[in-house]
Each structure stands twice: as C-alpha cells, then as structure tokens.
Amino acid sequence: MALLHTVNKSPYERNTLESCLNHVQEGDTVLLIEDGVYAVIKGGRAADVLASVKGVKIAALSADLKARGITADKMIDGVEVVDYGGFVDLVTSNDKVQAWL
C-alpha cells in the first residue's frame, strides 16, 4: 500500500517536509510541488535532510523548479524531476495520496 505524499511548503518556512518525512514508509514517494521544491537546493539544510532519507523516492515538479530558477546543477542528486503528466503517473501508481498541506 504505497503512498504518494505531496509537500507544497518551503522547508525554510514550515515544518511540513519534516513532518511528512517522519511519516513516510519504505516504498512511498514524496513529491515536492509549489514552494516545496526549495528543499532540493544543494547545500541547503533541507537538502541534507532529503539526502539522508532511505527507501523513499523523492520527486520534484519541473514547472515549479523552473519557475523558481532551480536548474539541474543547483539540485542535489537523487531527485527525480517530473512534469504534470509524471505527477499524474505517481498518483495512479501509488495506492493513495496524502497532501501535507
């Protein structure tokens, strides 16, 4: 019963990502959307936390990365970039979705 978790808050403003990561289970996917994508920036405190997560797929929405000027070279490794169609695929390939609003 894999879960897709969406996180839409900057980890530097709210503890949403932290709370999400405290509740993920092996095989789950965390998709960063909207201001949630700021977590992937290399050297950032949140990126260190993300990089330490094991057994969970981390993805980020390309439209939100691009809109915020976060290019591939600024991102930590191990984050899968998906477009809206990829977002849809993550929704259908997981059993359900928890939005960490």
């Binding site: 839409n8 849809v88 939005a99």
Partner: protein, 130 residues
C-alpha cells in the same frame, strides 16, 4: 483510472489552483477519467465569473470553464463554503434575497456529499490546498 480532484484555495492568491488545473489537464491528456473537481474552502472563489485579471495573465475561471466544456467535467462548488464567500447561482440568489449571482459557466453549486461521493467512487482523490 477514475480521479477526483479537490481545490481548497482561491485563484491568484495561492498556487494550489494552478497546480490543480495543470494536474487535471495532464490527467485528461493521459486518458484518465476526471470524475469530479470539487471546490471547497476559498477554492470556491475560482467559480466567480466576475473576476477580471490583467489581459497578459491567465484567466483562472475561464480556463476551468473551458476545460469543463471541452471534457464535460463536473465542477462542483460546495454550497456552504460558497454561501460564506458570496458565490451564488440563480437559485441561491433568489433563496437568499440577493440582487446578483456570479457563478461561472460549467460550475454547479451542490453539497459536501458530492465530495464524499467522489471519495467513494474514485480510484484516487487528490487534494490541492495551502
């Protein structure tokens, strides 16, 4: 797959409305059935036809209305949330003795049961909010 989509935030104020729209378009392009888009909390404000955004910006209400027409989408606005925020159709306008209504084409006002029904009927329910 049969998808239900829930929009909890208003247009322009929060990106949730854009994300929900872009997600819906992508789901339709992939051949999924969008059973219903349910607008709740400030999300009901997406349904006012009186919004007049600058011409060089997206028109969030029109975008939803056009998508609904093209794909025969069921855009449902929660009645209780809509009443609080002044989103009315003609029936609601008359019932409450108001002098205007503002609901856009393609949207309909109904109860929260429509959200629960979407939860029961759909394979996935996806929330977009703050």
């Amino acid at each position: 797959m049969k998808l239900g989509i829930v929009v909890l935030e208003g247009p322009y104020q929060h990106e949730a409305s854009d994300t929900a729209y872009n997600f819906t378009v992508a789901a339709l392009e992939k051949g999924h059935e969008v059973f219903r888009v349910f607008f709740y909390h400030d999300g009901v404000n997406n349904a006012t036809r009186l919004m007049v955004p600058p011409q060089d910006d997206r028109h969030i209400q029109k975008r939803w209305s056009e998508l609904a027409e093209k794909h025969n989408l069921d855009l449902v606005v929660c009645v209780a949330a809509a009443q609080r925020r002044g989103i009315l159709d003609e029936d609601e306008m008359k019932r409450h003795g108001k002098d205007a209504n503002n609901i856009a084409p393609g949207f309909r006002i109904s109860g929260l049961g429509q959200l629960i029904e979407a939860g029961i009927q759909c394979d996935r329910l996806v929330f977009f909010g703050d």
